[in-house]
C-alpha cells in the first residue's frame, strides 16, 4: 500500500506492507536511521518518535496507522544544521554516553516540554520512564531537560 504522511516537516509517500512497522519504514524506506531499535517490544524506548506530538514506540506502530499524520524523529529536531536546545543541553551536560538511547530520550523530552513547559523532576522522570539508559543513571538526562526548560523561559 501507499503511505502518505508528513515526516519531519516534509510530505512523504512510500510503498509499504500493510503490517510494516513504522520503525522499519523510517529506517529502511526513508533512511532515517536516527531512530534506534533496542528491543522491538516497546520496553526500551530507543525507537521513540512523535506522532501528532505524542511520544510512541515506533516498533509498535503499524506504518499504515500514520497515514495522513505528522511524524517527528530525531532528525527533525535540528534547525538549519543547528542542534535544538534539548540536543545542546544533552551534549553539554553529559546526558550522552554511548548515545544509543539518546534519540528516543530526546523525543520523549520534546513531547514533554511541548505539553509541560516547566516540568518538575518527578514529571520528567515519569515522562522518560519508558526510555531505558544503561550508561548515565538518568541524572544528567533529567538535568539536561530541566536546563532546556529553564533556557526556554529565559528567552
Amino acid at each position: 500500500m501507499r503511505l502518505t504522511a508528513t515526516v519531519n516537516g516534509a510530505s512523504i509517500a512510500v510503498e509499504v506492507a500493510a503490517n510494516a512497522r513504522l520503525v522499519d519504514v523510517l529506517r529502511d524506506a526513508l533512511g532515517l536511521t536516527g531512530t534506534k531499535v533496542g528491543c522491538a517490544a516497546g520496553e526500551c524506548g530507543a525507537c521513540t518518535v512523535l506522532i501528532d506530538g505524542r511520544a510512541v514506540n515506533a516498533c509498535l506502530v503499524a506504518a499504515a496507522q500514520v497515514e495522513g499524520r505528522v511524524v517527528l524523529t530525531v532528525e527533525g529536531l535540528a534547525r538549519g544544521g543547528e542542534l535544538d536546545r534539548l540536543q545542546r543541553k544533552f551534549v553539554e551536560m553529559g546526558a550522552i554516553q554511548c548515545g544509543f538511547c539518546t534519540p528516543g530520550l530526546l523525543m520523549s523530552a520534546t513531547a514533554l516540554l511541548a505539553r509541560v513547559p516547566h516540568p518538575s523532576r518527578a514529571e520528567i522522570a515519569t515522562a522518560i520512564a519508558g526510555n531505558l539508559c544503561r550508561c548515565t543513571g538518568y541524572a544528567a538526562i533529567i538535568e539536561a531537560i530541566e536546563a532546556a526548560a529553564d533556557e526556554a523561559v529565559a528567552r
Binding site: K36, G38, A46, R88, F90, V91, I96, C98, G99, A139
Partner: protein, 790 residues
Amino acid sequence: MINSQSRHPLSRNRQSLGTKSLDDYDPGIVTGFKYVGGRYPASDAVRKAGGDLAFGSDMRFSGMVHAALLLSPHAHARILRIDAARARAVPEVLGVYSHFDAPATPYCRYRITPGQAGCVDDEPLFASTARFAGDRVAAVVATTRAAARAAVRAIDVEYEPLPAVLSAEAALAPSAPRIHPSGNLLHEYCVEFADPGADPADGVTIESTVSTQMLHHAALEPHLCFAEYDSAGKLTIWSPCQSVYGARTVVADLLGLPYHRVRVIKIPMGGSFGGKQEFILEPVTAYLAMRTRRPVSLILERDECIRATTVRPAQRSWLRSRVGRDGRLLSVEVDTLLAAGAYAGSSPDYAEAMAHKLTRLYRMPSYRHRGRVAYTTTPVAGGMRGWGAPDIATCAEVHLDQVAARLGIDPVALRLRNLVEPGDVDPVGGRGVGDARVRECLRRGAARFDWARRAACAPGHGRWRRGVGVACGAHKNGMLSDSFPDSTTMTLKMNEDGTLDLNAALHEVGAGSAVTLTTIIAEELDVAPERISTREADSESSPFDFGCFGSRMTYVGGAGARKLAAALKERLIANAASLLGLPIDLLSADCGRVSAPPSDGRSLEFAAIVRHARMRDGRDMIVTQTYSGKSNPGSYSVQFAEVEVDTWTGLARVTDFLSVVDIGRAINRLMVEGQCRGAVQAGVGSALCEEVILDEAGRTPGGGFKNYHLINAVDMPPVDVLLVEHDGDDGPFGAKSVGEIAFVPTAAAIVNAVNRALGTVLADLPLTPERILAALDGMAAVATVRTTCA
C-alpha cells in the same frame, strides 16, 4: 543548579558545574591545570544527539545480505539431524549452515593474543551437541532480514535431549552428566597467604554464604557484526568490539587466515559493560561472509542478546573470618563456586580475579581463597563491568556487616579498623596498592552522608522501614601483573596548521575515552582539545593495543598519550631550537608556541615549526611511542545507600546514594561523574531486580526487557558523587580508573542497607520482593514460635 553557558560542546566549560555533586573547588585554581579536570562531552556526542552517527544497525553495504541464527531451545541435546529443505525453499535464502558443513575447530571467544594463557578452546562455530538453550545450531543467510528469520523458523532439527546441568553445584556432583569430554570442573585455583608472625589473638569466627546471580549486560544496542570477504582473499569485519586485535586473532586463527588478511574495524558502540568484550558474533559472521562471498550483517534480537551472548556468571562464595574482639581481621577464608556456562570464555580468569581483590582492600594476616569453576548447560558467562570485583565485594561486604552485627561494632568503624593504608603491599599479588585513599573515602563519605546520625536512626515499626548501608570496594588500574606486561602504542601527528591527529587503537564504549586522551594531550602540549582529532581502532592502521578493558584506558592509555605528547613537544622544541639558533634548554613551549627567553623575545608557532619541517627541512612532525605500564595500584570506592522497604509487598527502593571514588585525578569531570552515576543504575538493578532467570529446563523466559527488569528513571535515587583526588600514582596527571570501580561496592551497599532496615541476613542476590517477604515471613514465624513458647 548553575546554568551552563552555551558554548561549543567541546570547549572548556568549567563554570558549568551541572550538579551539586562535585567537590566544590575548581581544579583550574587549585592545580593550575588548563584542561585537565574540565567538563567535556564525549567526542561524538553532537552526532549522537543529531541522530546522524551511524551505529552498526544503521550501516548499509552494497550487496549486503542478512544472517539469522537458529539457537538451541534445549539446554543440553545432541543434534541428530537438521532438515533445512523448507528453509532453503524460501526464495531469498542464499544458504543454511550448521556443524554438518562448518569447521569443527574449537576456539576461545576470550583470546586477545596468540598463546594467551588461560584460554580454553572449547567453542565451535556451530554446536553438534547443544550445551545451553541459546547455543548456535545453524545460521541462515538471506537477502532480507525478515526472510532469514523466517527461514530459521523453517529449519527442522531432531534433538536427542540430554540432562540439563543448571548450577555449578549440580555440575560437580559425582553423577552429573559430562558437558565437555574434559569433565565439568573447568578450573580450580587456590590463592593463599599467611603471615607467620601474625598475632594469634583470640577472636570470633563468623561464616557467611553469599551468592550473586547471572546478569545481562543490557547495552541498549543489541549485539551485531558485519563481515565481508573480498575476491582478493581479504576479510574485513566491522564490529562494536572492545579489541580489534583480539577479534583478529580469534577469527584469523579459526579460519586459517594470516593476520594481515583480517582487518577488524571498530564501529560506534551502543554500550558494552563487558558484554561486547569477547568475540561472540565475529567468528560466525566472518565464516558466513567467506561462505557466501557477500557482505553479511548479523544483528541479534534482544532475547537472543540475553540468552545467547554472555552473562555475568552466577557464583556462590562461602566466607569465614576470624576477627578480634576489637574488629581486627585475623584471617579470611573464601571458597567460591562459579558457573561458567556452556563454554569456558573468560570464566577461569574471571574467577581467579575474584581472589585478588580483598587483600588490596583490607589488611589481614592470613588469607586463603579457593575457587572452582564448573561448566554448566547455561548461557556462557563472561566479563562484566568490574570483572569479579563487584562479585567478591558483594560477598565480602555483606559478610562484614554480619561480622559488625555480631561484634556490635558500627560498620564504618569496623572497616576503618581494617582498610589498607597508602603504600601498603598486597601480600597476594606482591604489588603495592599505591596511593590508596580508601580510608579517606570512607571518612569523608561518612561525614557527607551523615552516616553516624542516619545509622543510629531506628528503621521504624510500620509498613515501611528505612535503613542505610555502606560498602567498600577495590579494583585495579590496567592489567600489569607478573605474567602480563601492560603496554600501548600510539602515534601523534601535527598538521601544518598546528592541529593534531592521534592514531591509537581506541575503542570508545561510551565512556568518553577519546576525549580523555585529547584532554591529556591538550594539557601536556598546551593545545586546545578541539584541535586534536581521534579515530577508532582499525587493526590495519592503528598501532597495537590490547583493547578497552581491565580499567586500563586512562591509567595506561592516558599515560601513553601523555608520554606521546611530551615526545612531540620535545621534537617541536628541538626543531625550533635549530630554526632560532638557540640551545634547546633555553626554549619553552606553551600556548601553541615555542618561545625563546623574554630577553630574546622571539617565538615560533607550532604550525610554523611544522611547516618549516615539512617544506624546508624534509622532516616530519610525527611521533610514535610505546608506553609500558609501571604499576598497578588499587582503585577504590566507598558507597553509601539508604533504602526504604515495603514490608508488606517486599518492594525495596533506594532513596539516597553517595558514591565516593578514589580517582587520583579526574581528567574529565563530566564523564567521571557520568560513570559514577551510571554505575548506580546497574548496581541498584543487580541488588534488587536484575537476573537472567532460567526455568527448570534451563530456558530463559523470553520477553526481553519485559522479564529482565532494568531500573528506570522513576526508581533511581538521587546520586551524590564525591571524588577523592591526590594524584599520587603513575597515571596521567595522577589519574586512576573509574568506570569499573564505581560499580564495585554498589550492590553490597544496598544489600547492607536492606538488611539493616529489616534486621535480616539476606545474602542471595537479587533481593526480590519474594526473597524479602520470605525472609520477613520466616522471622515472623520464629517470633510467633517464641511468643507461643513464652
